[in-house]
């Protein structure tokens, strides 16, 4: 459906943000993980036709979306990481304006906006000026605008930041439901956001695609390398210095560390089932070490 082929992006001043990334986005939810500065947002902006790649091609259903972005834009729902609103407009007016900018029929737009306002739980405040909305409410307005059309490609960049825990869970479920019949590209640095919903995961680090596969493929890369060990607090530092620690929990017996090691780090270390966060940290750490 959407193909990003050998994408590189070099910003003015020579900063290289992406370096030869190739990625095919098909129906389903593709979770794009990566540390801050990995190039995720640049890739999302390129996929959303907001930025042009310095080199490489973006193909949408066989046509060049860099040269002719309109077909992709018509089929696209995009929620950027950082966006603004017109503070004097109400949520309903703002969405109505954006629906007109999308070229949606008036009657359809009205019904759809009502439905979306209900979906994002803003119906009761839909008549209030956006200038008085909190950050979380504005993010929900952003989510609503990304669903104004019935997008065949939905690109969402850090969409759950600012949402409360229950909203995050519900939103992840919504994305999962939407991904049944369209391509959803979800970028985040919060592993738990993609762990439960992504059918496909890509890891970006240093502007390069460093891993791509099903969650179980990524988990396989750290199989047998994840350990948990409880040590007195004063011994924790030496373990932390020598291993990649993915979690630290304070318990009555000392600190419980979850760490990655090719063999047991201490004699009484307990092998545990790896999680996606372990795999992600291992991949990113491996890239950083190179």
């Amino acid at each position: 459906m959407l193909e990003l082929i050998d994408i590189s992006k070099v910003y003015r001043g020579g900063k290289r943000s992406l370096d030869g990334v190739t990625m095919h986005v098909r129906a389903g939810l593709l979770g794009l993980l990566g540390p801050n500065g990995a190039g995720k947002s640049s890739l999302m902006r390129i996929a959303a036709t907001v930025t042009r790649p310095s080199s490489g091609r973006v193909m949408f259903e066989g046509s060049d979306a860099v040269a002719r972005p309109e077909p992709l834009r018509a089929a696209l729902g995009y929620l950027p990481q950082d966006f603004g609103v017109y503070p004097r407009l109400t949520a309903r007016e703002f969405l109505s304006y954006l629906a007109a900018a999308k070229g949606i029929r008036a009657r359809d737009a009205r019904v759809r906006i009502d439905e979306l306002l209900h979906l994002v739980n803003l119906t009761e405040v839909a008549g209030r000026a956006l200038g008085g909305y909190s950050g979380g409410m504005l993010r929900r307005v952003g989510i609503a605008q990304s669903l104004l059309t019935d997008p065949r490609v939905l690109i969402v960049d850090e969409p759950t930041a600012g949402l409360d825990p229950e909203e995050r869970v519900r939103f992840r479920n919504l994305l999962n439901e939407l991904a049944a019949d369209r391509a959803v590209l979800l970028s985040t640095h919060i592993v738990s956001d993609v762990e439960s919903v992504a059918s496909d995961i890509a890891v970006l680090a240093g502007g390069r695609l460093v891993a791509r596969g099903l969650p179980e493929d990524l988990l396989r890369t750290v199989a047998g390398r994840v350990w948990e060990v409880t040590v007195p607090a004063e011994h924790a530092a030496s373990l932390q210095a020598g291993h990649l620690v993915s979690r630290t929990t304070r318990t009555r017996d000392g600190l419980r560390l979850r760490l990655l090691a090719s063999g047991p780090p201490v004699p009484d270390a307990e092998a545990v089932r790896p999680g996606l966060e372990d795999a992600y940290l291992a991949i990113v750490n491996q890239v950083a070490a190179c």
């Binding site: 834009r73 603004g84 503070p87 949606i104 029929r105 919504l174």
Partner: protein
């Protein structure tokens, strides 16, 4: 004490560096070079910045320095004000203000640092102007000897105190809620006019712009050389001259103690003004700013930290996917409505003012409507027009809209919304012109109604800021409102009832060109992104 001063200095310098590293700063410096060039025109040029009677001074260091410094004081007190009047707004937009507000930094200290940042920006322009003056003296080659002291002293004596006061006023205007927006720009334009006109008068407190003594000295030298000049025959500001001015020699002037005290007091007034807003400045507290706890206008919705620890609420958000199918359809009318909402929403006083202007347009004699009401009607929406082309960037909505289809349709709708505002504001004058059968007036009205919004759209699109249009339109409007016909875009200047200005066709033709310029700017930006 010394540590506090050092901290202030670092804050001010950081502020200055942040501004100096923006592309807009290069434009500011380039403008300074342009102003320096205009101040010292070629012998054959038909424009002049300053004349004393029918004379100008020989371009030696003293005269070149003084004429450029006087011009700089004149221009930087206007353009410089607009250039630096973003110090607090930028901190609010970027969120830096909130960080500083949570630091131990005192409000007065913060204001002082911002003021010094303003001063540094304007002083750098003064420095560039002084450098340009030196280059122009060499280029014009009317005097071979360069006297650095005579060249630079006018900038220190005349220009610097004025820009220091301008820096303080710019900061002050940002702290007054009513003046923080575009209204502050308009108010400053008229305040500047009054200050400049009054500031050139003899006997003005603190020496005003600092013009009087140097010009008196020039007049004395001119008379001593047998020239003819009367007491008030002097002009400062770009004027057109049919014939080139004659040249006299000016040896420079020695400022009196009173003059020096006046200049120092001007600086002192600025310094006293700076901490004053600490009494009411809200220190980026949204509770004191008004408008609730929402995101400040212009601040983009950036991801906040996930509320992991927050108590779960019984939210019903995101329960199920939207089901209504959507089909494409005609949306031009709704797009225009949306753009009109964005332009016109808010400001009860604005609507009341518009109603008053409309009433005046309906009731005043036709000559008064043409000469006064129509210019006023097309000054009133300046703050609305200045949003054209710039608001989506200033509010951060562009990050959403850039991924939307058919961007040119939105630009056209935006321009049309601007035309609707012009029509709304000028409705009563148009009706009067139609009733009176003043067809040339109607044509001029149409030209203006298309030209002004198109100019706003083009400048807003180019600069992504509301300020460029405000800075250019105000002088353009002022020239016409003062009865100078050569740029009359609305048909307000008449000679025996006939249009005295350029043909309305000129403005009617300019409008589509400006629209095309806006579209081309967007297309070029998109291609270069």
């Amino acid at each position: 004490m010394l540590a506090a001063a050092g901290r202030l200095g670092r804050l001010a310098f950081g502020d200055f560096l942040d501004r100096a590293r923006r592309p807009a700063y290069l434009v500011v410096l380039a403008t300074a070079v342009g102003l320096g060039y205009l101040a010292v025109p070629d012998t054959d040029a038909h424009w002049v910045l300053m004349r004393v009677g029918d004379y100008r001074g020989r371009y030696d260091s003293a005269y070149t320095g003084m004429v450029t410094a006087l011009g700089a004081a004149l221009w930087l007190s206007l353009g410089g004000f607009y250039a630096v009047r973003d110090a607090l707004a930028r901190d609010e937009r970027t969120g830096v203000g909130e960080l500083l507000a949570a630091s131990p930094l005192h409000t007065a200290g913060y204001l002082a640092a911002k003021f010094l940042g303003n001063v540094l920006v304007l002083a750098s322009m003064v420095g560039v102007l002084a450098g340009t003056a030196l280059v122009m003296q060499v280029v014009r080659d009317e005097s071979s000897s360069v006297d650095p002291v005579a060249l630079v002293a006018p900038f220190l004596l005349v220009t610097l105190p004025v820009v220091v006061l301008t820096a303080a006023m710019a900061l002050l205007s940002e702290t007054v809620p009513a003046l923080r927006g575009g209204l502050g720009n308009v108010v400053w334009f008229f305040a500047w006019l009054v200050a400049v006109l009054g500031g050139m008068a003899p006997g003005i407190p603190l020496g005003g712009l600092g013009v009087h003594q140097p010009v008196a000295s020039m007049r004395d030298d001119l008379l001593a050389q047998g020239g003819q000049v009367s007491e008030g025959d002097f002009s400062l500001g770009l004027t057109y001259e049919e014939t080139p001015l004659r040249v006299f020699d000016w040896d420079g002037f020695t400022p009196t103690t009173g003059y020096l005290l006046g200049r120092a007091t001007l600086v002192l007034v600025a310094v006293v003004l700076v901490p004053l807003p600490a009494l009411w400045f809200a220190r980026f507290d949204p509770g004191r700013r008004g408008g609730g706890s929402g995101t400040p206008a212009g601040r983009h919705v950036a991801p906040a930290a996930p509320a992991e620890g927050a108590r779960p609420v019984m939210a019903t958000a995101f329960a199920g996917r939207p089901r209504t199918p959507v089909r494409p359809g005609r949306a031009g009318g709704r797009l225009l409505t949306g753009e009109l909402r964005i332009l016109l929403r808010g400001g009860r006083w604005w609507w009341l003012g518009l109603a008053a202007i409309t009433a005046a347009g309906a009731l005043a004699p036709l000559s008064g409507v043409i000469r006064f009401v129509l210019p006023l009607a097309w000054l009133w929406p300046i703050l609305r027009w200045s949003r054209l082309g710039s608001q989506r960037h200033e509010h951060g909505v562009a990050t959403l809209l850039d991924a939307y289809p058919t961007p040119h349709r939105r630009t056209i709708a935006e321009g049309l919304a601007g035309v609707c505002v012009a029509a709304l504001a000028g409705l009563a004058p148009l009706a009067r012109l139609l009733v009176a059968g003043d067809w040339p007036g109607v044509a001029a009205w149409c030209g203006g109604a298309l030209f002004v919004p198109a100019l706003a759209l083009a400048l807003g699109t180019l600069s992504r800021s509301h300020r460029l249009f405000q800075t250019i339109y105000l002088p353009l409007w002022y020239v016409t409102a003062n009865g100078l016909p050569f740029l009359d875009f609305m048909g307000a200047c008449r000679i025996d009832g006939a249009l005295a200005g350029p043909s309305p066709l000129l403005f009617l033709a300019s409008a589509p060109l400006l629209l095309v310029a806006a579209l081309a700017t967007n297309a070029a930006r998109s291609a270069a992104s």
